[in-house]
Point group: C2
Chain length 220, copies 2
């Protein structure tokens, strides 16, 4: 599949590398493609993944069937606008939003710069005519691409979005590529308020457990 991963940080590189390893045609989108020459980790990543092409946000989106938003939360809305926003590069395409509205300016644990009566997922959707599906934002990047690394995959992923077809595509993709078996559809995109606000617990659990390699399983 032709995929755009928007964002070259740790989350974006992990996702791009994992899709590349599984045979997808990955474009890694960035605001400034020239930055690769100044970012050692990005340069190392590109050297190790010859199939991944570094391009601008909009070029990556335009060339792809599905896009994944994996920038830092504070850059999410701007990155979607740069990737095409309501234009043809993203229009009607599935956009998986894995971002969280984390604000580390006051230290750890972070606060959220959007919550309670809004969510970053909704703000992203307001900036684009892509079909936004909020997913994967409740686990660390390493768990996103390898759920079996935690408790043999016996834990839950939460998705939400306004487009039923888009959620179906995302669920099938995540199961087929990474083995996600347990996916709970919470409903429309306003449900992202729930999964993003859960980060306030996730960050504190990470500190208490001493690892980001965990997830939750809903017990009934």
């Amino acid at each position: 599949m032709r995929l755009a991963v928007l964002g070259t940080g740790g989350v974006g590189r992990t996702l791009a590398g994992a899709f590349d390893q599984r045979g997808d045609e990955v474009r890694l989108g960035t605001r400034d493609p020239g930055a690769a020459g100044r970012d050692g980790r990005l340069a190392d990543f590109l050297a190790a993944h010859a199939g991944v092409r570094l391009t601008g946000f909009e070029e990556a989106a335009a060339a792809s069937e599905l896009a994944i938003l994996a920038v830092g939360g504070q850059h999410a809305v701007e990155a979607v606008r740069r990737a095409g926003g309501t234009g043809s590069a993203l229009d009607g395409k599935v956009l998986i939003d894995v971002t969280n509205p984390l604000d580390f300016s006051g230290g750890f644990p972070p606060t959220l710069f959007a919550c309670n009566t809004t969510s970053l997922g909704e703000q992203v959707q307001a900036a684009t005519t892509a079909r936004v599906v909020k997913a994967l934002n409740t686990v660390a990047a390493s768990v996103m691409v390898d759920p079996s690394s935690v408790a043999n995959g016996d834990h839950d992923l939460f998705v939400c979005g306004d487009d039923e077809g888009a959620k179906g595509i995302v669920g099938a993709l995540l199961e087929e590529r990474f083995g996600w078996q347990r996916i709970i559809d919470l409903g429309d995109l306003s449900m992202a308020r729930g999964t993003e606000m859960y980060l306030a617990l996730w960050t504190r659990l990470m500190a208490a457990l001493g690892t980001s390699e965990f997830n939750v399983r809903v017990a009934r």
Copy 2:
């Protein structure tokens, strides 16, 4: 044990009834003890639990070794003040805060009237010299008193508070009375921001699952 359960709603009655059944000496605290004559469910509850005494907030706290705050979140700080606040009725005692800052004025799912940079747990602690332990606020009342009703008890309870001794007392009490086996200590009382903000996910999960009889288990 002599226990005060502050709050006569569904959560307070469930807790008071469960402790009463296990042999504790329970005082059920309310702002207006005369209201029992006008509240059919409360009257029925008291008729069914002859050992539970209905009293004012402060009388309940003064007569007890440990208190449990189980009023609606919007009444939490006022109830603690009425129960003694920084006075002798609560001073130095363990106070289990099971409340959540839920605001249903805009419908369902609720928003939180305190979150992100504060928590109701911290606001409760600021109003009293009791030793506040936030606990049980992440599950429905029926699960609080019978964790084995969900997945044979194989799920996690989160506690936090500033007083280590108080957390130890609460953990032992919840294990001994109700069988809570898996308790994760998140740290100081500011961690209540995490467990209270999780309610934004909990309420949406309740809607998606069609039941409040669930909890999460941390998978590692």
